[in-house]
């Protein structure tokens, strides 16, 4: 089950480099429990749709929610499939799978806020050691703030996974003791999936589940957060 503490120590993958975003998407997809209702955020998390668990007969084993009013969202539409009345939250034309359902916005967000949605995967500027999330606004004076459904998802989904690079382009860690960017939600993140490591956020602290292209010791050196094994 997502969010539960793992007892084994971190698996160090040092015979390879950090994960590419596609590899990271595959790792996350693998960890999403079959049977879940899942919302994939705009941007990188959308890639996870290509790596979702499947039943034995090959049908997708999770049901995708898109906040603009649909369960059972299928892959991106191409060619004649494109229908301007059928888009995902990123306004990209998509398709519907058998068993799909449409609903209005208040119902769509009741699915989050009411605790019905099992997992959402969001991008982030920063995640704090206690699970605080910052992903909607840089806080810069010339930045136009745009929150969309991020705060509702962060607060409402049973499990909030973050998908991000571990370091900024300047090399600063994005897993931090306390967020400096404006917050999206308090203590809401349960898992942090990054190119260099996967972190599980538990009441007793941040556990490292796996590293990629870096040792646990090196990771502890570069991230200014106490990391449990």
């Amino acid at each position: 089950m997502p969010g539960q503490a793992r007892e084994h120590a971190a698996i160090e993958h040092t015979d390879r480099g950090p994960l590419s975003m596609d590899e990271l998407a595959a790792v996350i997809g693998h960890d999403i429990p079959p049977g879940s209702y899942v919302n994939l955020g705009i941007g990188q998390p959308t890639k996870i749709a290509d790596y979702l668990p499947a039943d034995e007969d090959g049908t997708q084993a999770v049901i995708l929610h898109t906040e603009n009013g649909m369960l059972g969202m299928g892959p991106t539409a191409t060619g004649d499939q494109v229908d301007p009345d059928l888009t995902n939250a990123g306004k990209v034309p998509v398709t519907e799978l058998p068993g799909a359902a449409y609903f209005h916005h208040a119902d769509s967000f009741a699915m989050m806020r009411g605790g019905h949605l099992d997992v959402c995967v969001l991008g982030a500027y920063q995640v704090a050691a206690n699970g605080d999330l910052a992903n909607w606004h840089t806080g810069k004076p010339d930045d136009i703030p745009a929150v969309g459904g991020a705060m509702d998802l962060a607060t409402g989904a049973k499990d909030v996974y973050v998908m991000m690079t571990l370091f900024t382009k300047k090399g600063e860690p994005k897993l931090v003791q306390q967020c400096t960017y404006p917050l999206t939600g308090l203590a809401c993140v349960s898992r942090v999936y990054t190119d260099y490591a996967v972190f599980d956020i538990q009441p007793d602290g941040v556990h490292v589940l796996a590293t990629y292209g870096i040792t646990l010791a090196e990771l502890r050196d570069r991230v200014n957060v106490k990391l449990l094994g």
């Binding site: 009345d85 449409y102 208040a106 806020r113 705060m151 404006p182």
Partner: protein, 226 residues
């Protein structure tokens, strides 16, 4: 039933709060907005998920200088240049509302709810200055309804009474906005006689609908994809 969109939007006063349906371009009531531009009401407060895409629909209304304030969840997009320019020039006011709160605040207005406690945005800048309360160990923010003087929405099909069905994700805010405005104005692609809609499939019952106008499908809405 109205014959033209110009008749359908007649009487919208300066300073009105207008709820505008759509998520991006899906469900955007283009023809009603174009009529509102011709009608010329100014100093409007617009409540919508976005603040316009490209140069059409809501973006065109903004460009016409008729909007004083936008309440929305997601103004900044790759194609929101009209809003971006007005905002950076200080010519338009912005209130950012989390998308679920935007929907629920309108739902509350339509359902006669005075206010509600919501967990979204607790501890964030969007909850600053708002009353909070702990209920059963969880923190909530007090949110007030958003009521519209008018709602402009697009639906797929109406009967002549005003019962509505929508199409796919173009439904989005339509059913909620229809309940939350004093006067709800709907553009539809098709009008059918009373009795032709399956009562089990009606999404917006006619009691929430005041004016209906049939419009022709537009090339860019059927070609899609942008």
């Amino acid at each position: 039933m109205f014959q033209t969109t110009d008749e359908a939007v007649a009487g919208i006063e300066d300073g009105s709060t207008v709820l505008v349906g759509g998520f991006g371009l899906a469900g955007m009531p283009f023809d009603l907005i174009d009529a509102l531009i011709r009608q010329g009401a100014r100093d409007l407060t617009i409540v919508s998920n976005n603040a316009g895409n490209g140069d059409v629909g809501l973006a065109a209304l903004l460009k016409a200088g008729q909007v004083r304030k936008v309440m929305c969840s997601f103004p900044r997009q790759a194609d929101s240049w009209v809003f971006d320019g007005l905002y950076r020039a200080g010519k338009i006011e912005l209130e950012v509302v989390p998308q679920g709160n935007l929907a629920e605040r309108m739902r509350a207005a339509g359902a006669g709810i005075g206010a509600f406690f919501c967990p979204t945005a607790v501890g964030t800048p969007l909850a600053e200055g708002k009353e909070t309360r702990e209920i059963d160990g969880r923190a909530y923010v007090l949110e007030y309804p958003i009521k519209g003087d008018y709602a402009l929405i697009a639906a797929h099909r109406a009967d002549t009474l005003g019962n509505l069905v929508y199409r796919k994700t173009a439904r989005n805010f339509g059913p909620v906005m229809a309940t939350a405005a004093t006067t709800t104005i709907v553009q539809v692609s098709e009008v059918v006689p009373v009795g032709a809609l399956d009562p089990e499939a009606v999404v917006t019952p006619s009691i929430f609908v005041d004016r209906i106008v049939k419009v022709e499908a537009r090339s860019y809405t059927v070609r899609g994809a942008r």
